[in-house]
Symmetry: C2
Subunit: 303 residues, 2 copies
């Protein structure tokens, strides 16, 4: 099952050096989920060949402009190109008022159903679930209300060991029962345990998205053992006091967090406009967590 | 005196084919005025090498997203890069509420003075004036409240005919008086008329901006005899009924309007996403008004 992240924007507050404000797409089994939607995200989608109507759910972390000012334009363009499918947007409570105010004054009545879901930043919460995925929001620490998001694959049913099933002569009708944990009683009375007839599915994978936040202990329980952690790394550690003042994280801290929560891989982004060259951020992070990559716009990262 | 228009965005509602939503810069004597500010305008400014802090006045025609959704990001970026100078924004009354709501929820307190001026769409109004320019807004017809803007150079004082002034031996102290219409009485009693001592300044130029609007008689008096008319030309005339439904203009109508108001030159833009190739729009417009150009992003047009 596909589980990948496309970086659409990697910059912090101001677009610069060809970098754009934050947005990502998460592809889980060819379903596209958007996380944050900075100004210009719809242009980035076009640039990277993504049809916006494939997106059914958009998660907004907080209401700083560089994380949501592309949302109204994207919602409007979906309307103009004839979207019919419903769209779900999750974000801080005032987002509903902001979006509705725009559509009131532009006198726009969307031709598709838009559902706005308020998140809260006090505790972890399951905000979306389907047959193969669940998404939780969890509090970050960023001056204004801000949440991270964690995408967890659900454990899939085991696969049938086809060679063995054929050898025993199990009728096809039984296979889905066996996958679900039923044993098979053959006509000769032999009972075959379902565990012997199946190959267990891979461990479910998980992706956590943390932007923007100061490094605190508070959110670490929610991002334990993820396969891929995206964490903002706005500054080099020499700018720690600036990072703390602005409720951001340094590259060193991002690496330390990844190590501490035992993430398998780390992706950093949300680069300050002061860094044209990102290699020092990467090097600093890798000094404590080798499996680090720089978020680069247009690149897909496997979870 | 410089009087030029830079096109930053030429697309109608959806960004496509590398075209962006509407925005322009008007350079009058090295003062930059912005007209409309669609999503991504700040990135266009960077692309074309314009420092945003040179902009002191921004005029917003109406509250469809493709004409203002880049404004909050631009205002925020000006704040983040340390702007101190005041910024004046002119637009429909709800714009103030929209901007203030964003800054309330993002908990941003701008470090520079932002003045929001409400326009009205009922009659022509002088909304800005300085020593060499006046800007008026005037009503357009676009379903929601929408105004055009007209930039008029003021008549400049005449220049001194230096050769003649030197021959007569006029002291420098008198020259500014002569420019302002005072005659010069020489020590020998001869009176030299100021008209004979000066070279009259060129006729003042004017630029009118009309986007978005249906073609009506209503606004034609406000755009008479402009040197350069920007007029939207969203559709080809074969789409006239669609143009009227959506309160837009066809290329043929734009050309007819330019001819009717005796504009010297016409610039068309706000192209529908249905036109990848713009040459048919240009050809249609030129069939009735030869001095037409296509608005092309990154190009400056002399008024």
């Amino acid at each position: 099952m596909k589980f990948e992240v496309l970086v659409l924007g990697s910059s912090s507050a101001t677009p610069i050096y060809g970098r754009h404000p934050t947005s990502q797409l998460v592809n889980v089994n060819e379903q596209l989920y958007m996380v944050d939607c900075g100004e210009g995200t719809q242009v980035q989608l076009i640039k990277f060949g993504i049809k916006s109507n494939r997106i059914k759910h958009i998660f907004i972390s907080h209401l700083h402009g560089d994380h949501y000012l592309g949302l109204i334009g994207l919602i409007s363009s979906m309307h103009l190109i004839g979207r019919k499918d419903e769209l779900h947007v999750y974000g801080p409570p005032p987002l509903k008022e902001i979006i509705e105010m725009h559509f009131l004054h532009s006198q726009t009545v969307l031709r598709y159903p838009l559902h706005l879901h308020a998140t809260q930043d006090k505790e972890v919460e399951l905000i979306f679930e389907n047959e193969n995925l669940q998404v939780t929001s969890f509090p970050l620490d960023h001056r204004i209300a801000c949440t991270g998001f964690r995408f967890d694959e659900k454990k899939r049913l085991p696969a049938i060991d086809k060679e063995r099933a054929t050898a025993i002569g199990i009728p096809n009708d039984y296979l889905s029962l066996i996958k679900r944990g039923h044993d098979y009683a053959a006509p000769d009375g032999t009972v075959h345990r379902w565990q012997e007839l199946t190959i267990s599915s891979p461990d479910p994978r998980s992706y956590a998205y943390c932007s923007d936040t100061m490094r605190t202990e508070g959110y670490l329980p929610y991002i334990q053992h993820v396969d891929l952690l995206y964490h903002e790394a706005t500054f080099l550690h020499e700018m720690l006091s600036r990072a703390m003042e602005t409720y951001h994280t340094t590259a060193l801290q991002a690496g330390q967090i990844a190590a501490e929560v035992r993430a398998k891989k780390l992706l950093i982004g949300h680069y300050s406009a002061r860094y044209k060259d990102l290699k020092p951020l990467l090097a600093e992070c890798r000094s404590v967590f080798t499996e680090t990559q720089l978020a680069s716009e247009g690149s897909w990262y496997t979870v």
